[in-house]
């Protein structure tokens, strides 16, 4: 029984290792206002997400994960990473944002969309997308370029904002 299990897992793992380079809704750095593309875009399905994060993938899969698009951008000496989680429905993206945001750090970022904004990371949800824009150095100080990148990506996403500022 053990050998069948080992073979089955090895086979399914090997067949699932098809990490792709689709950019999805993430445009080139130039289209986002003077950012430089760093590396090629990456994309991951539910079967390959664990190759991007060997631990923690279940968090997204259990909320109805569909595809993850990853792009890296640079400006000057700063390096940023954008992770765009496409969920199967709007509620999945909203639930992930709700459990990840920091309530005392929410601000309007773009198009009447609330985002959780800390010095090195921006979180937001719009339509079926959960968006993470992060300084690649998690110990970096606050950056105007991070805000600009987050705003420009969020503005391009389709669908209604999951959370809007209270009027």
């Amino acid at each position: 029984m053990r050998r069948v299990g080992v073979a089955a897992v090895a086979c399914s793992l090997a067949f699932s290792l098809c990490a792709c380079r689709e950019a999805g809704p993430l445009p080139s750095g130039e289209a986002l206002g003077g950012f430089v593309d760093i590396d090629q875009p990456e994309s991951y399905t539910g079967a390959t997400l664990y190759t991007y994060m060997d631990g923690g993938a279940d968090f997204y899969v259990n909320q109805g994960f569909s595809v993850l698009y990853v792009r890296r951008y640079g400006r000057g000496n700063e390096r940023f990473i954008v992770e765009l989680y496409e969920m199967k429905d709007v509620s999945g993206a909203s639930r992930i944002y709700q459990s990840s945001r920091r309530l005392n750090a929410e601000k309007e970022l773009a198009g009447a969309c609330l985002a959780s904004i800390t010095p090195t990371e921006i979180l937001a949800a719009r339509g079926r997308y959960y968006l993470v824009v992060r300084n690649e150095d998690p110990l970096a100080s606050q950056s105007d370029a991070l805000i600009e990148l987050g705003r420009n990506v969020l503005n391009r996403l389709p669908g209604p904002c999951a959370f809007a500022p209270k009027k």
Binding site: R2, R3, V4, G5, V6, A7, A8, V9, A10, C11, L13, A14, F15, L17, C18, A19, C20, R21, E22, A23, L26, P27, S28, D37, Q40, P41, E42, Y50, T51, Y52, M53, D54, G55, G56, A57, D58, F59, Y60, V61, N62, E83, I96, S99, S100, R101, R102, T118, T120, E121, L123, V132, R134, E136, D137, P138, L139
Partner: protein, 343 residues
């Protein structure tokens, strides 16, 4: 650089090659499972870092990493007990995803430990990691380490990096401790099973499903990917308790002689990576050294509780209790000699 879906890493030829590789892996794994014998877990000598019959746990606070490391090792009584075992040590870091410290073990931390090992008379230190496979161009075993700068910095610093394939059956050996409540063996990396000295270099993080990761949980990365995936698939929400038990068994299969934790910063609220609401807490400015990985987790859990209002010690009580019951160490810090110093 193309944005289109035509730029898939795997074209038709690549897919065919991967398919052939998958069949070969499955065939090899089948043969492996059929012929492999299960061994006992490695026989590790008793914890050499003790005081008055209690395991010693040294906490060093400071800002100069090298000074902290030197002071911590001196407070531990030096590394002679390790040097008597062998002149080579194998390091294990936490490389769970390509995000820098404190998500993963910092290369400068590995080099600082290596320098002290060399000073103690060990002639060779290496870092073992298994976070990729040769079956896919996209996740070669060196990929994550290269992206993090670990590969280049350690190689230049004289610490060879052993980046091994997590799907290669020849790399792993089945081990089992009869005291485990789960009968199935664990496929631990052969180098860890055979190394006379293993030194773990954990980071302190929250974890979405098992709440916390430090000295015990990091050994998920020490076993075959098949073992990791089986636990994740059978306990996908972390509620059955399987993962809490199995992570202890994975650590038992490795049994490092020394654990040196880099808690200069920690990852609070969520984890084991960024993106899901995790919060980096800088300025913690501590390193923790001990031969007892259960005591390390008990102490580091208290550290986490000081910095993360969403965490409490009950969250890791099951894994500490199970680890202590298996004899991996002391979960009650009253049974541990804790030495706190500044450097």
């Amino acid at each position: 650089m193309s944005d289109s879906s035509d730029s898939r890493l795997l074209d038709r030829r690549g897919f065919v090659l991967l398919g052939a590789g998958a069949l070969a892996a499955a065939s090899a794994a089948f043969k492996w499972g059929r012929t492999l014998t299960t061994r006992a877990c490695k026989s590790a000598p008793p914890n050499p870092f003790t005081a008055a019959g209690k395991p010693l746990l040294v906490v060093v606070e400071g800002e100069d990493l090298h000074a902290m490391m030197r002071a911590g090792i001196e407070a531990l009584g030096g590394l002679d007990p390790l040097a008597r075992l062998s002149n080579e040590a194998l390091f294990r870091g936490n490389y769970v995803m390509s995000q820098p410290y404190p998500v993963t073990t910092a290369p400068e931390f590995v080099l600082a430990v290596a320098a002290e090992m060399k000073r103690a008379g060990l002639s060779k230190t290496s870092l073992l990691d298994t976070s990729g496979t040769r079956l896919s161009e996209a996740i070669q075993p060196e990929y994550m380490l290269r992206r993090l700068g670990v590969l280049d910095k350690l190689t230049q610093g004289g610490v060879p990096v052993l980046a091994r394939d997590f799907l290669d059956p020849d790399e792993f050996v089945f081990v089992r401790n009869p005291a485990w409540p789960i009968a199935k063996p664990v496929a631990v990396h052969r180098l860890l099973h055979e190394a006379p000295i293993v030194v773990s270099l954990p980071v302190v993080k929250r974890h979405g499903w098992v709440n916390f990761t430090c000295a015990l949980k990091m050994h998920f990365g020490s076993v075959a990917m098949a073992d990791r995936m089986l636990v994740h698939s059978k306990d996908s929400d972390g509620r059955s308790g399987l993962m809490q038990q199995r992570l202890v068994h994975f650590a038992d299969a490795v049994r490092p002689q020394l654990n040196i934790v880099d808690a200069r910063a920690i990852l609070a609220r969520n984890g084991p990576g960024l993106s899901g609401g995790a919060e980096v807490v800088p300025g913690v400015n501590k390193i923790i050294l001990s031969g007892d990985m259960v005591a390390v987790d008990a102490w580091c859990a208290r550290l986490m509780a000081q910095h993360d209002a969403t965490f409490n010690l009950d969250m890791i009580a099951p894994q500490l209790k199970h680890a202590a019951a298996l004899g991996l160490g002391r979960a009650d810090l009253d049974d541990v000699k804790v030495v706190e110093i500044r450097a």
